[in-house]
Symmetry: D3
Subunit: 248 residues, 6 copies
């Protein structure tokens, strides 16, 4: 293994940082940084639900994902100008939406929708996992701001995500862009704070992987997520979110 960015070993994730209230107009807003990957996550609470949920008394959580044209080394074409979201974008925002839906108790939410936007302003690998981890914080900030609207907080627990790869048989945690381009296998784990799985997605870009490697990925991914959950918690506590909100 060549030297990894930020001088870390195979099992260690990049420095993670949350800048809450990064922008001021959304109901919840955070800039999440995972190494050099930076994503603005904002959340809004809207008093309506999609058509298929009307008059059922339950709410919804949805997410959208975008990448600024200037976020990458080569300029990325602007999807709005092309008139179409790429397949990759569609796939990512569906993953984020499913993952963040697991944070919320849609019964307690009532007929409301939380919309989370994750816009990458600087890309260096792991944008989708950063978006999930940061999107959860934005969602919590949004509900915290509107906490008076709810009898009990419509929360099911925090979620976070981490990427992993297998390179020449070795498992690497939290890939940067350069690593992401070279690994044989690319995995994303989304789990709850209580250690259960929300999503697992693994793709053998080059070389299929064994059952044993799968086991290592699950073990190291879980360990890395423990740290992520701790930082998420600190960020929310520092913001002033009540500790009771963070332990369900």
């Amino acid at each position: 293994m060549s030297q990894r960015s930020f001088g870390r070993d195979a099992r260690t994730a990049r420095p993670l940082d949350f800048q809450c209230d990064f922008t001021q107009n959304a109901d919840g807003s955070v800039l999440v940084s995972t190494g050099n990957t930076k994503v603005i996550c904002t959340a809004f609470l809207e008093d309506k639900v999609p058509g298929f949920l009307k008059n059922q008394g339950v709410g919804w959580v949805t997410a959208e994902y975008g990448m600024l044209p200037g976020a990458t080394h080569q300029r990325t074409l602007r999807e709005a100008a092309k008139g179409k979201q790429q397949g990759r974008t569609v796939e990512i925002q569906r993953l984020i939406g499913r993952s963040l839906r697991a944070c919320v108790n849609c019964q307690d939410l009532g007929e409301r929708t939380i919309v989370i936007d994750c816009d990458v302003i600087q890309a260096d690998g792991g944008t989708r996992t950063a978006a999930i981890t940061g999107g959860c914080v934005a969602l919590y900030l949004c509900l915290w701001k509107h906490r008076k609207k709810f009898f009990s907080p419509p929360l099911a627990g925090r979620v976070a995500a981490v990427s992993l790869g297998i390179l020449d048989g070795q498992v690497l945690v939290d890939l940067d862009y350069e690593e992401d381009s070279t690994v044989d296998v690319d995995m994303n784990l989304v789990k709850t704070e209580s250690g259960r799985f929300i999503e697992i997605q693994g793709t053998a870009e080059n070389r299929p992987f064994s059952q044993e490697q799968m086991m290592q990925v699950l073990e190291q991914g879980g360990a890395a997520l423990d740290t992520v959950f701790e930082k998420q918690k600190q960020a929310l506590l520092n913001y002033g979110v009540e500790p009771a909100w963070l332990t369900r």
Copy 2:
């Protein structure tokens, strides 16, 4: 657990059938049936590659997925008429493409593209896994037809897929539509004949799942795929494909 379709137990997949040469114009064509799910898979070999691969001497494999409007109990809107593929469609065809790319040695393919189309004519759950399993057969038939063009068959080995779910803590193999709508967790496994992983995708629609449940899914999915690979092999042998093609 209520009675499962086709009188099977939790670990058993639905009857699987391949009708090779289902249509006659494509280079390879098969109707794959998994219980009541039926998918037409066709494959073409084209003497060109996408722009990003030009002049590199390597080939490409790509897939598209569609659902006939009449395939479902409620008519599905025609995507061509709406002018847009749904997010679900985009996500599925990217999965199929990645999976089938693993069948092929793109170096040996040369500057050619294999395009696999998977069109669902009758839907009863598991359309994407049927598409992968059947798409692999169509791909083999296509290359068999053109075998004289290649010094050595540009094959990396067969792939197949199966869906699994977790319902009230019990793992179910090969979900039909009704089961798919009720399970807490929905997983798709794509593996090689040699038992290695190509793709794993698991989503906890309702309830996060434990490490132990993950282990059961991996075990039972692997066992179910052994049967699938055997039927795939028989279909190709019956068609006349050389046994040597089926063992790499």
Copy 3:
């Protein structure tokens, strides 16, 4: 005239076959085969009408047409992926819709819509006429399934279609793809079982045609349609549709 496919003479249509209930989810479903052209026709009865017919107590019949990418010798681009139906597709599905509207008494239908989908799975010329002939069968099966909803069957009579061409002055009935590419004139006739015209469309691709040739086309087309109507009737009778439904 070179030898025609299926060893037929200029006045004879290709073998015609209807496979009712080809798929099981739609309200009516048939696989129609005209020689090597195969089209899946499905029909649904929906309890709504387009905006321009709301609250008028009458129903509507509409059709959509598609071609699987693998239906042709050279793969056809998927219209859903291009984000647009081709002009040819639009023109064909408007023809099918107008033709099948003539089968139905929209007053007796009430505020309901019948949607017929015609998807070509194998193309060898005459896909639009096969779609009309088969679409009529799917429509009848759909109404037969829902017959208890109607005081009197909302039927105006069966329709069927046939293609004709003029090649070096000779009229040919039911062109296959190769003939279709070479004829000077391409005609489609849509008639009722009682021998009246629903649609006539003739195009001189290469050489304008005379009044006398027009007369021959009308005469031979009418004769060929008599056979088509007989086979349609047998298919519906064999399915169990009441004879009284087939004679109006």
Copy 4:
């Protein structure tokens, strides 16, 4: 039959007028008026051909059709603003293109394309037949302007079109909008000056029609077109086009 517009009987077409050089920038331009229907037809000769004809030494003729939003009694939505041409528009412009292609000898044209635009500025029925009749004039004016480029005029002969309807069993020639909305059958005939058929399109909107009615339509349509061809000829002669151009 109620009184027809312009005090005419069933067999008589509306007053027809050609205003050549109606606009000055196109290579050929004419305002064609059929009663109150007015269509601007322009033609350009371009030194290129569509991709499928490249390097074959032959030319192409294509047409586009549009309707100004203000052309109708109720404003029509602008297709450019909707981002899509309607099915009706697509169908009409394909008909115009096929018809005008019959005017031209594509071998003599060389690798050039004639593009004819037909834009309706006032609509009162028969816009597509007016577009064909006027488009032929614009095409002739365009070739006349560029006549020095050709060794022999790349002309195959003039074409013109007329609409007909059947109302309560009676054939009507050249329907205005009100008639068009009420007839049982709507036909369009496109013929050459020499009396041969280019296109025939007939649709029984309400009531199928008989063989005998078909005969009457063909006879009366032919007679009406004789007059149209004469007026077309006069317009071109008055403009200064050489008589020899008008007799092939």
Copy 5:
């Protein structure tokens, strides 16, 4: 300065003409000609308002702009066929809409919308200013036709527009196409008959301009507009519009 078209000096606009009732189906219709630039302007009064104005008791004015493909020396691509309006078109029609909104008292209009369509049939520079000047006339004709619907005419006063340019330091009034392609600065002024500004848009395509040049543009533009307003008034008076309508 080279010789200007129509033999005019730098301060003089091209001949301006209004042909009222140019087409007969719209509520108001005029062909406006500015030299060789010709634009059909039509107006409709519709008994509805956009969503954002519902139930507020006020009306709306909106405009759309188009260019016939045959209006230019080189054929322009049809926006409806491309499936998209160009940026230039969007920008122009927003300008026309804002300008014509200033003609109308939206309170007195009630919950109605006036839609003005400006379609260029011949382009020689200044199409957007001609569209505003002519659109105002179409709007007046439309309201005049419906005058019985209003207690008091919902008018705020006439508007008109003129283009100006700076070429080698000299201000030119009412640019034709050739001038428009060469000037250093391109300005559009929209004013009310009472001499107040509605819109000013100036762009230094090549060379930034000075405060002093700005002053000359404002002065000469104002003078040119005095003449335009006089001709607009004459056209409306000749049509029969009550003089009292023209002086507010």
Copy 6:
């Protein structure tokens, strides 16, 4: 006049700040803040030109504009998801492109394109003027990074923009969102550092404005821009851009 934000008087602009290198992947990057309006501006130098400039030895400057969904108090719909840029977006990015083109000497640039992206992350009025002012800085940083590629810096001078409004007859400089919603007139001035005009755009949303008010706008806008140019210069000097680059 009610109290203005940041305690300023009518003639004073909001605090302006440039954070150079805000992101690290683009060739030039700056976060520009005008009060609470924040825009990320990035610039790339690409070795190609649009089709209409090929083989002419000159370069091009283009700009795109976007607004993050979370930038506003009410969430804005994502244009990429709608599949279309709004008219307002198209108009703004054309303005930015024209303005920044004036910074560059396209001859000296050679066959290269500078693409500037301006993405609003927090909106409080004046986003288009902030985008121009910040876009100029990003453009300079981009050229500074690539300075070795040019014999002489391909610069024509800096540009900057400011918005102004007229409210109850009083001119206000640099409107925030609340002011922008209430003013009668909305103007944008784009000038060069040498005090010449690049663009002027003024719209009387509610009440036409007089010549005298126009004069005040020009005077106060010019004064405000002097301060903007000074801050731009300081930001670039602090970054290390050579003073000689800032004085042309």
